[in-house]
Amino acid sequence: MDYPSGLDPYTARQHLLHHTFSPLISIQSSHNADVFFQRVLGNENISTSQVFRPYGNNAKYTVPNQSFKIINNQLITKNYPSFPVRFEPSLPELLSIIHASSSDNSNGITNVYSNSSNTTTASSNFASTGMAGSPVSSISSAVTTVSQIGANSSSSSTQLRQLFSISNLELLLRHTAKDENITDKGLTLAFFNKVITSNRIVPFETFNHPISQVFVIDYENDTIESLRKLIVEFRNFNFPKFFQIDDLLIHVFVLFDSNKVPSSDIIAFQNKIRSSLNTNSTAIPIVETEDGDKPGNFIKLSIIENSTIDEDLQRISLQESSSESCSYLQIPKSADSIIRIKLYEYINKHLIPHMQAKIRIWDDQMLQPKKSITGRFFSASRKFFNNNNSDSNLSNVTSSSSTGLNSASFNYHENYYYKSTPEQTIRKLADWSLILKDFKYAYSTYDLIKKDYTNDKAWVYVASTQEMCIVSLLLAQTQQVNLNPVQPDKNTLRKIRHDIIEPYIDNLTYTFKSRLNLKTYCLKTLVIVIELLLCICSTFNISWWWNDLIEKYLLKLVGEFDGHLLANGQRPQVIRAILYARLGYCFGKCIFLNDDNRYLIKFDGTTMIHAETEEDEKTKEEKEEGLYHNPYKLRPPLNNGLAGLMRYRKSATWYLLSIREWLPLKNYKQASFLMNNLSLVYNIKDVESDDWYNRSDSLLGFMKRYIKENEVNEKATKSDE
């Protein structure tokens, strides 16, 4: 029974894996490659990375029989139907965006102003007063916190900024919610996606550090020399000190027209690239079709993939100013299928093996020594004897075993570990094994390295690793590899909850909020953890374990978002409506019955379950015959046997509160979606019945009338047309 209806947490989990814990591949194209695509697509505004970007989501853009083979560290092979990657602009470009807004203070603010002028034009159309100025203030306040943090440090490194702007998120969702086609589920997913999607490069996690750098060139117009120049220029870039360029898989895509160029030439060219530049390449044959004007030969692709809040807002304001749809691109069918196939090859033949190889090396060289007894001894000895210089023998051993084993490897000024330190590498090892879906291994690795971070008082690393401990643990628990997952026993659950999730969340909230003034990071964590907990509830039917925790975290989120938005005079709010609806969903799914007794639930989602059972036919007949019938007889309610084992009424009240947020925004569509989620508790169709909840001063009563009035008005305007 799908009641209440809402976003399936497993969809959220999947999006989390697709949009956050997926390999980031940066793309750099030669000018000629851009021209090549512009010619093929007949669109002068398109860039190579824009073309590739949507194809990264190979769960959506599949090839026939696709299967991605991943071998984990225990040499167990698993096949996955999809393995999405994220295509982003090249690393120097990504970093320069961050630099522009953070390294130089005045520069940063002007950038922000130009940025927010876009958003304010968008917001002026959002039919809401008193909020036009808010994005400016919030962003500039984010900038000032950055400058405070960065005041002591040199400007070369990336400084920590808020993950996203809450006000901008609200603006974007408000706009999204007005879309005619978006459902309540879609909106919740949009919220989730926007919170988790980021391409910000930070030292303390490596999910946004590119795993591969792909150069795209055009065979006809680019030469080996120009490619060499591209690579050399790239290598000479002043990368942040925490970023290890040696781990990067350099790859080349060669575009050519198979009608003009014989394949032997391409193979020779590829061999030449391999021998002179020591780089692998993939050839992508694309035919420039003559009959390309026929609409049937084109495929329409949405270019919105993995877009961040700010990117979306910019696009929206551009669309509104130019009134020209730029969210789709048209691509010839033949080119579409060849790109899919070639990317599939690239991921399977180059990307995944590269990651597996690196993981094995790191495991061998960094992790195992640490786990071994001697490693433990050295780390202990480091603690006890570090200041004891007379014991030269021991300190010699320590420094020779690994270059960066002394605690000085953490840069306190700029909050990062140097790229070659085991701390930085092992974190990357854990991140990469998570990407390759080896969640258990990732968890044990996070857990191990966390202690080192704590010893070094590298708080931001600690917090981020705590987050990943929880996430990897929950991902492991909710992995549906086998059809009959084994329910974790009570002790495990107790441990997960009391020893891991609760203390870590408290701890990382403190670090992000109070130590670093970066509350958006802990908001992101909460959003993720809530969905994963909902997953674990639905997998094992153990809502009684987690329900109160999910409620607590959701309320915490409400409080944080409220606190921020109310300060800016934004009320009512879309974010709040979404979170209230999520609370409603969480309680609606909360059924305290184990699997054996689930069959007792027989509601079809249309009748009110707390109402008394109907009289049977026989008594009705008897009544008609004039036989006596006791009018005072109390009949059992429908859910009598299960009384107190559900939380439908509580769920309904949260949905009511959510609907209340939508009405002032005049978004009746969302309101009536949510209204359906009350149907087990209240009679939602009939406004006139004299039930208590229909009173005109009660929330449901006036909301029903409001919505009905609107329906009548809409019908009237339609009939006028």
């Binding site: 107190g644 309904a652 009240t653």
Partner: protein, 163 residues
């Protein structure tokens, strides 16, 4: 001076009686504020309109307690949207539910809270007495709304006495 919403809920989840009031005690001492009349509830509209629903949602938890504990007074059963919910259930499946805004007087210590809980319990016990008297009226049937002005007066006097 906190405001209270008290409701008697029948076996069909229907309110039999409702009343909103505020504490009389603090009002008399702080009557210097002038405008506020003791006893008049101070719920803002956005809370007022959801009170019956908060009460209704607490029935989920009351039903859970109903079949796990054998006491009449259920104590604090929920806090919802900043509202504290206290409950009491009779043998005849009639629920007494009291909602009030969770005050920020946590610093008053547990003794104050205990006192508070005791007076709420006493209030419930005395209301139960009134309810049974009402039920003894042969012209009253279970699940009928209690419209008697005398009953209303007595409940309000109890509110004044205990809350």
């Amino acid at each position: 001076m906190s405001s209270y919403y008290f409701s008697i809920v029948g076996t069909r989840d229907n309110p039999l009686y409702e009343v909103e009031f505020s504490s009389f005690k603090t009002a008399t001492t702080s009557s210097s504020t002038g405008s506020s009349v003791p006893g008049i509830s101070q719920f803002p509209t956005n809370i007022k309109e959801i009170l019956p629903f908060v009460t209704n949602s607490s029935l989920d938890l009351i039903e859970d307690f109903q079949w796990t504990t054998s006491s009449f007074n259920l104590g604090k059963i929920d806090s919802f949207y900043g509202l504290l919910v206290y409950g009491f259930i009779t043998q005849g499946n009639i629920k007494f539910i009291l909602c009030f805004e969770g005050s920020n007087n946590n610093n008053n210590g547990s003794s104050a809270q205990k006192y508070n809980e005791n007076s709420i319990k006493q209030f419930f016990v005395d209301v139960n007495d009134l309810y049974v008297k009402c039920l003894l009226n042969p012209f009253y049937a279970v699940n009928d709304a209690i419209t008697s002005p005398d009953f209303d007066l007595k409940v309000k006097l109890l509110a004044k006495k205990y809350l």
